[in-house]
């Protein structure tokens, strides 16, 4: 029985570790400025935890085999523990876990502690059951007033967001169903939700943030590659949660400006 346990525990350990190391299922290719540091922190954590995982499981499997009851063997070792060992492994794990935490902190700080730069592309992202809307401030650089009582999701577009036509600043606002941004420039995202909590998740950008009713949450990320990237809703928001997806198109600065100008022209 000791040998069977050893084989099963070791086999589970090797199989689990293999699929991590082979990266059979892994993060999508990172296409934002923060991806490299984040993936590195993940890799460091993964190696450290992986070594402990393999060592602990192998030791467990080995011990149950090595110390199985054998008719010839003497009694088990009469020991109540070892204070020195307790102090050593307590200190080591404390250093390891706190150290890992401190290592990862600058990444978090870079992502969340500073506001977006002044020349960032500003996009307001609004979530509602079960759609994403994206608003650009237009030539005046100002988002117009939106009023909850004017919201009409069935009409889509500006009406869905409840833009107040009486406000001059809202006249030139562009509302789209696809999020288009230029590559290599920081994007400031202003996240809102009308009804329940949603979460704006773009795996390739290593970006995630809940959109909460009543809050306007300012975040930023910098796409470094052009392409189409899927947006998923990551917070349970109701029966359509699984199909509340969107598309982030990262294009060149020129292309972006042309696209935005065309949208603005449509408004006239």
């Amino acid at each position: 029985m000791g040998l069977v346990l050893l084989c099963v525990i070791w086999l589970i350990t090797f199989a689990s570790t293999y699929f991590f190391i082979a990266k059979t299922w892994w993060f999508p290719h990172g296409a934002s400025a923060s991806a490299a540091a984040l993936d590195h922190q993940f890799a460091v954590t993964f190696i450290l935890m992986g070594v402990i995982f393999v060592a602990a499981q192998l030791a467990l499997g080995y011990f149950v085999f090595r110390y199985r009851e054998q008719p010839s063997a003497a009694r088990a070792d009469y020991s109540h523990g070892n204070l020195t060992l307790e102090i050593i492994w307590t200190t080591l794990t404390a250093i390891l876990f706190i150290g890992l935490n401190l290592m990862g902190s600058p990444i978090w700080a870079a992502e969340r502690f500073r506001p977006a730069v002044d020349d960032a592309t500003r996009v307001e992202v609004t979530a509602m059951q079960f759609a994403w809307y994206f608003r650009y401030p237009g030539p005046d650089g100002k988002f117009g007033i939106a009023k909850p009582e004017l919201e009409d999701p069935s009409a889509g577009g500006e009406a869905a967001l409840g833009l107040d036509p009486a406000d001059p600043a809202s006249k030139d606002d562009v509302v789209t169903g696809i999020m288009e941004v230029p590559v290599g420039r920081e994007v400031e995202v202003i996240l809102r939700a009308h009804d329940v909590i949603h979460s704006f998740f773009v795996p390739a950008m290593r970006f995630k943030q809940d959109a909460v009713p009543g809050l306007a949450i300012h975040m930023h990320f910098t796409p470094t590659e052009t392409g189409d990237f899927e947006i998923a809703c990551a917070e349970l928001c109701g029966l359509g949660h699984y199909k509340m997806h969107g598309m982030l198109k990262v294009v060149s600065q020129d292309e972006f400006e042309k696209w935005l100008a065309a949208r603005e022209a449509e408004k006239q």
């Binding site: 922190q41 706190i98 902190s105 990444i107």
Partner: protein, 577 residues
Amino acid sequence: MVAQESHQHSAPQGFIRKWVFSLDHKVIGLQYYFLALTAVFVGMFLSLLMRIHLIWPTAVLPLVGEIKPETYLALVTMHGTIMVFFVLTTAPQGGFGNYFLPIQIGAPDMAFPVLNMLSFWTTFVAYVVMLSAFFVVGGAPLHGWTGYAPLSALQSAGPGEGLGADLWITSIALFCIASLMGALNFITTTLDMRAKGMSMMRMPLTCWSWFITAILGLLAFGVLLSAGILLLMDRNIGTSFFLPLGTINGQLTGHKGGSPLLWQHLFWFFGHPEVYIAILPGMGVASQVLSTFSRKPIFGYKAMVYAMLAIGLLGFMVWGHHMFMSGMSPYTAFAFSIMTMAIGVPSAIKTFNWLGTLHKARIRFQSPMLFAIGFVSLFVSGGLSGPFLAQPALDIPLHDTAFVPGHFHLIMGVAAIFGIFAATYYWFPKMFGRMMNEKLARIHFFLTLIGTYSVFMPMHYLGLAGQPRRYSQLTELAYLHPLIGLNRFMTYAAIITVAAQLIFLFNLFWSMFQGPKASDNPWEATTLEWTTATPPPHDNFGGRTPVVNHGPYEYSVPGAPRDYVMQSDPATVAAAH
């Protein structure tokens, strides 16, 4: 002691007083256990339906028919709620804790037998109310076991958010009340009812784990109860604790000024300690069983006690790690993250001490031991994905993906269930006077170990690839399509794992009536429950009052006649510890 006077109630006559409205902690323990047993099969059935639906979306399934997106989310909600409350909180604490805490500390009953009966029957009513949510118009709620507002606070947020959600909250509130009564009873019993010589530091680690769990319950359930009442008020009488100005389908909700984050803070202030409520008794049982079947004293008894106390204390300071992506101040993430990483330290101490116990042991591979070894393996696997999620930066890609259910299912789900299995196989002879079948137990063990790893380890891979949680279909996002094959494998593994549980069920009931008769101490264990008759008499010790002379895990004491010294053996058998 004064408290003990009230316990000399004589054995009740008649079926109702003996088996239904019983004051006997042993009967109440069995009532809790069987309630949890029905709940675990309901919860498991729901999860099986979920796994089948993910792979065969158009399949018409038994009892539920065709699964719509809202049906799937109702399954998500009810699976989580039933498992967390009515299985993981009920079986280890209400079941085994009730049955064995008084016996292990040498008491004739719990401190408050009537309160004990009341807490079981309140739990029972809560369970009935919870299940009734399936049968009302709109069905069970779709807001998940965490019930985030506004989704859970607005009747129009989706099907199931009407009466179903009210029943769900009511059930949880009742459960909180029951758990508060239970917690008071456990704490008082542990502090006041210990036999002569049973100092705190001679208590079996199971008793420590039930005691610490009770303290966590006392402090945590009150908060959830309050939050639940506030949520009921938001839903039904127009308050706005959790609801800001907002619309649903373009209609103003009529609420303003509340905070959705307030619900998350209150919920997780309960929710994180709840994780430890589920797993601590498993740690206690694993320690007890590992020591017994290793024929060795537990390695570092005091370190084990302090580690559990540290886990309990730190467990109240980490709730914010569930909220790194919620929109709360990013600065608080630092504090929550450091505290969370700090919990890794006592958890690691426990793991090292379990391995230390196995070192130079003389291991007997009976069924309780297999599950205790499985517990350690799962605790390591599930525990080590914690330090990923504890780092706010890594939560950016991982939060609310399948990585999270992978993590918590291994540690608070499957590891805790392995604790319950170890306890079942270990104490079954004492509870029912018969032995369970070892062959069936081994088949059950290996199928369950391999099966659960096959279901939950791949969830980590899916999470890395970005599969979000709680998606009823994986067809809508193109990047999820390559993951369907792995999901199919997990569904097959789930079907096999569920089938393996039928072996357990058969073994349990067959052995109850047909198993070979058990002796008073079949495992040659040391704690007080093995000194009394099998099954124990109404007052636990048949008029005797046990006196304790030894520590709880005196195995292989040099010079002692047998390889174990029972806690109540005369002091002269071996040097007292």
